[in-house]
Homo-oligomer: 302 residues x 2
């Protein structure tokens, strides 16, 4: 592992919006503070769960600065910076590095499909070389169900060979344990995170670094506890309970469902708002999510 | 049809880059002037073929202004303005309208997948209402093989019902003639363009407006001639020849292949450059494309 690599539970913090659909920077700051108080190891702000791909470049920059000014330590931050266009990705990544963020989570360019590993390598290489900062730490973001364009095993190997002190880790949101296991086996030097906490125990048993997961927004304590205690008795039971919680909400649209839970927790109905093309859950569906979680023995912050 | 709707051949102009991978605004202007001299009816700059999704927001704004300052009439311009994030799409669209562009070609937000028509409607509605300009003319961009997120028949109907004087047309790049035919049948009030000139004669026979096609970059004269003469004898033979030209280059990666042909035509090797994640054709492949076109009886500008 690269020195100072992230490990443990990182949370792609939800991005709250106001009734005008503008980001609510103060509510985001409060949520990030709450997550750190619960013991999470890092904040993967501007991830898929954060609706980051519905945020403009300027909005991401302003929000990151608001978090830093609000006292969120840059050592806890792994902002998502990968966009379709090189100049946008370079701008966000340079900004994150300049502000001391310990790493960035980087999607490959995801508009053009059926692109070659050679083309994706060239993209990451251009970004890394143009930024030219030894402090840059890139976590590759593999999420083929959404981005469609993925980070193959061969591409990881090529990037590690070329940039061994920059390519720090990978988030595998393929939902395919066989892929995560292959990454763990082939590239033990990489800090590999499962994209769903359902695979946390398996990931840790196979030398992984932890999980970067949407559910961390509502269930940070249990997931963090499994990370701390995975070699102890009871780990399998804790994993089973954590998995039950995930199953209880992911039967709904996951981002709106997590926001509905947060809206209840913060007693702030505006937390339910999502930006189009996503749709908010209505009050009835919000109650259904909360009920489903209650039946799974869970309530946020309790 | 909406008054002043586009029709005929529109070209998603290729975007040339210099050796630093920056857009070459003067070379783009020259290419746009050449296309207009060949008789094309409009320039759908910043389309998929333009590598627009590899351009930053600022780059698109600067390039559009360069074209306008260089004398390209706004009445000929249909810039692509649809991005993943509402504020970016709104900014580009507002800029295009403010500069008098006759229309914009708008992708749906394409990062989040399996989104509902309701969510996509909300996205287009937010954009249209926030811009709030009666001069705005939106051409919907349906390209599921690349964007994955498409514009369904039901969504078209809903948008037309809500914004009958704003939703002006649609580009169908599904590659599925049955879909194009269904759009033509259900929504004759829409200016519908096929995304490949292979379907131009069929599109026109069914009441369509024309084609917005990548091949227009190299073969504008023949395609424009078919648009003018589709009801005359010889139209089927001309369609067959046009289709032969397309087949001759699309066996290669289409954007790099078109740029290789342009590089030969303009005697400017830098025209071959593409931005990652695409890869340029090498000199051997460039020769192979030119040879393939020669065998199809075609050479750009001859």
């Amino acid at each position: 592992m690269i020195a100072n690599a992230f490990s443990g539970l990182l949370v792609p913090a939800l991005t709250p919006f106001d009734s005008n659909l503008d980001p609510d920077a103060d509510a985001l700051l409060r949520h990030c503070r709450w997550l750190l108080e619960q013991g999470v190891d890092g904040l993967a702000v501007f991830g898929t769960t954060s609706e980051a791909n519905s945020l403009g470049v300027e909005e991401r920059i302003a929000l990151l600065e608001h978090l830093l000014e609000g006292g969120i330590p840059p050592d806890k931050l792994m902002p998502g910076t990968g966009l379709c266009a090189l100049p946008d990705t370079i701008r966000l990544t340079r900004h994150a590095v300049a502000h001391g963020c310990r790493g960035v989570l980087m999607l490959p360019p995801f508009y053009y499909k059926a692109v070659s590993d050679e083309g994706l390598f060239a993209s990451y290489a251009e970004i890394i070389e143009r930024i030219g900062e030894t402090a840059l730490r890139v976590y590759l973001y593999h999420i083929p169900p959404v981005a469609q364009v993925g980070v193959s095993l061969a591409l990881i190997g090529r990037l590690l060979a070329a940039y061994p002190s920059t390519i720090a880790g990978l988030k595998d949101s393929s939902g395919d344990w066989n892929n995560t296991r292959a990454v763990l086996e082939e590239y033990p030097q990489l800090a590999t995170f499962c994209g769903s906490e359902v695979f946390l125990l398996d990931t840790l048993k196979n030398g992984g670094a932890g999980s970067i997961t949407a559910t961390g927004n509502i269930n940070p304590v249990q997931i963090r506890a499994l990370y701390s205690s995975w070699q102890q008795d009871g780990a399998a039971a804790l994993q089973a309970q954590i998995t039950r919680v995930r199953k209880a909400y992911e039967i709904f649209a996951t981002i709106p469902a997590l926001k509905a839970v947060a809206a209840d927790f913060y007693a702030a109905p505006s937390w339910r708002i999502v930006r189009p093309p996503l749709r908010s859950l209505g009050a009835d569906d919000q109650q259904a999510v909360l009920q489903s979680l209650t039946e799974a023995g869970f309530a946020m912050g309790k």
